[in-house]
């Protein structure tokens, strides 16, 4: 599979006087798993939020299947349904139960039949082992449980691309594994995944390609072996050294 699904071209994002993304060029192919690593504040999350249009790019372009998502006639609602997002802080809908969290978006956005949507939701909640909790409200769940529901919610939209914004950073260590397992189950099923993460071991195991970001630019990218075993750039080496020492 070499057909590009998302192409980021000369993307620049400025908040006030602060340039967060300088000039980003990134092509992600359909079915590919790309991990984005780098220091906090290097622009990883901002890149992801621009791809999903939660932030409006200052300049540059983003293509989805070759079409600019910034074009005036582009169907953003449809695009967002096809490019799901999993957040660091889960963002489950607090007013809805676990089941409703997974059913409502399907019915609202995709206009799916409620019975069909429920069936789909139950299957997905089953794969993340959250089916016993379908009647619970988000407040009553642990962080790991919430994140697994959030993954099921994003999956339920049958997306082509899933964006993960530091999905395990807000979790206690013992809960991380369940969430990573849920993500591993999704990998190599044809779904395209872009993952912003600090879990280096996970990134190495799951990714087809790893992107290292530094100060608003992509400093280096390559296969996991290249980046983790033989990084070319000094900044990459310095960053990874700190992580490996810590481990």
């Amino acid at each position: 599979m070499t057909e590009p699904i998302i192409e980021v071209q000369n993307l620049k994002k400025v908040f006030g006087d602060h340039e967060v993304l300088t000039d980003i060029n990134l092509t992600v192919n359909a079915g590919e798993i790309v991990s984005i690593i780098g220091r906090s504040g290097s622009g990883k999350s901002t890149l992801l939020r621009n791809i999903n249009l939660l932030e409006q790019p200052t300049s540059g372009d983003i293509l989805f299947h070759g079409n600019s998502v910034l074009a005036p006639d582009f169907d953003i609602t449809h695009y967002r349904a096809k490019a799901g997002m999993v957040f660091q802080s889960f963002n489950l809908f607090n007013n809805l139960t676990v089941l409703e969290n997974v059913v409502t978006p399907q019915v609202t956005v995709l206009k799916r039949d409620p019975a069909e949507a429920k069936q789909h939701a139950l299957e997905l909640l089953n794969t993340v082992n959250m089916d016993p909790f379908i009647n619970a409200k988000p407040d009553q769940l642990s962080g790991g449980q919430k994140q697994r529901v959030a993954i099921a919610r994003a999956e339920a939209m049958d997306p082509e691309v899933l964006l993960f914004d530091e999905p395990t950073s807000a979790l206690d260590p013992e809960m991380v594994d369940d969430v990573l397992a849920a993500m591993s189950n999704l990998a190599h099923t044809g779904l395209t995944m872009i993952i912003v993460t600090h879990e280096m071991a996970f990134a190495r195991d799951i990714s087809d390609r790893v992107v290292f970001m530094n100060d608003g630019v992509i400093a280096e990218e390559g296969t996991p072996e290249q980046i983790f075993n033989a990084p070319h750039e000094e900044v990459t080496q310095a960053f990874l050294k700190r992580y490996l020492n810590r481990a």
């Binding site: 997002m85 809908f93 089916d131 909790f133």
Partner: protein, 517 residues
Amino acid sequence: MTHKYWLFMIALLMTLGLAVAPGATTHAADNSTTLKVGMEANNAPFNWTQTSKANGAVKIDGASGYANGYDVQMAKQIAKQIGKRLVVVKMSWNGLQPALTSGKIDAIIAGMSPTPERRKAIDFTSTYYKTKLTIIVRKNSQYAKATSLKDFKGAKITAQLNTYEYDAIDQIQGVEKQSAMDDFSAMRVALTSGVIDGYIGEIPEGITAATDNKALSYINFSQQNGFKVSADESDLAIGVRKGSTLTGGINQELAKISQAKRNRLMKWAVAHLPATSSEDGNWFTTLLKQYGGMLLQGAGMTLLISLVGTVVGFLIGLLAGIIRTIPRPSTAGKRGLRALANWLIAIYIEVFRGTPMIVQAAVVYYGAAQAFGLNMNRTLAALIIVSINTGAYISEIIRGGITAVDAGQFEAAHALGFTHLQTMLKVVLPQAIRNSLPAVTNEFIVNIKDTSVLSVISVSELFFSAETVAGQNFQFFHTYLVVSGMYLIMTFAISRLFRLVEKHMAGPISYNLAENH
């Protein structure tokens, strides 16, 4: 807030003011088949409210109870002669003139004298009753034997606000002039309790007070020892709009009614005053038996207005919340529209939060009629005013509720492809409403109490009914005690009810694990 914004607001308010200012009077009503007559229905023996249609009483328009008295019988005769159907509209004394000039009523028959000040605003027919001033006193006081105004030196005397009786107090040398009071019922209570030594009224009021209350009597001054009043003041006439076509017809009919007939009618009126509460039996049961229906109807009206007002205000608040959170659109045209909508909402909130509801009621009801000839039903006007007023407050409450919802909730919904409206309806507002519910309950309770200001436009809510009852039975303390109990029951029931709703919205504390498949 920018300077421009405030300049705009002030300009808008001034434009509104100018639009309402010209006192264009409406004449349309004069040609209708009904004769709408305004009176207090609380000024016996001229006019009073009773609970049945006995003795030829007339149903009061849009309220419970029947009006009767000298004025009502006079109005009946005149209406019949000029071929119109009589409609009696009950309103406060100070509401009579604006109601007439704004076309809410066609004539004032309320024991009103044609003073020069009043003649500037409205026209009067010829006299329909000629009266003389008296002072009503306690029978056991030193003033009971007075024969001349000189005997009232040092006495505490009052009269009704905005009447020539009140101005006449100045003719008594060395009198202790007290602040004016609202109506005769209040003055009678003040007199019996010893707060004042006497009050000035016309002879019919003297007859009525003395008949009603054995402890009171009135002084029949001779021509030279009594008050000097001009014919403008002692002669009671019927108020009509300036240049009204009714004047000629009414004057013709009045000419046919002789002085002897008028005196007989006044005697009849005094004799047929509704019986004041009998002393036997428990005051509480007597009050309920006699006026319970009227008070319950008033409570029903209060509940209706505050319920509709709160519900509609709540919907306005939700709508404002949806509009104010619309994300910044990409095209300039839509951005302009959004800015305009936000501006209008801000102005609406500032104006209706920044002016008293009693003033809004007067502007909407009397002002709209006077300036634009817009004749609104009183209950409808009340519903509109309370809804719009409450909407301004609830908009801000909901805004606070939305602010308290985590930004991640918006982001997650947008990231899933929800439109703004879907985001608000399915995710944000349910949470915002839960956050705002205690404050909305507060608004409802405030509305229950604040609808009492609507008595200014004569809406027969609970407070207006209470005034009527107290004006009939003179049991101020007992009546208002019962009425405060009724208010308390309503507000307490509402606060409990909403507590239940809050609990329900919070959902169960624990959840059941679903069975494993």
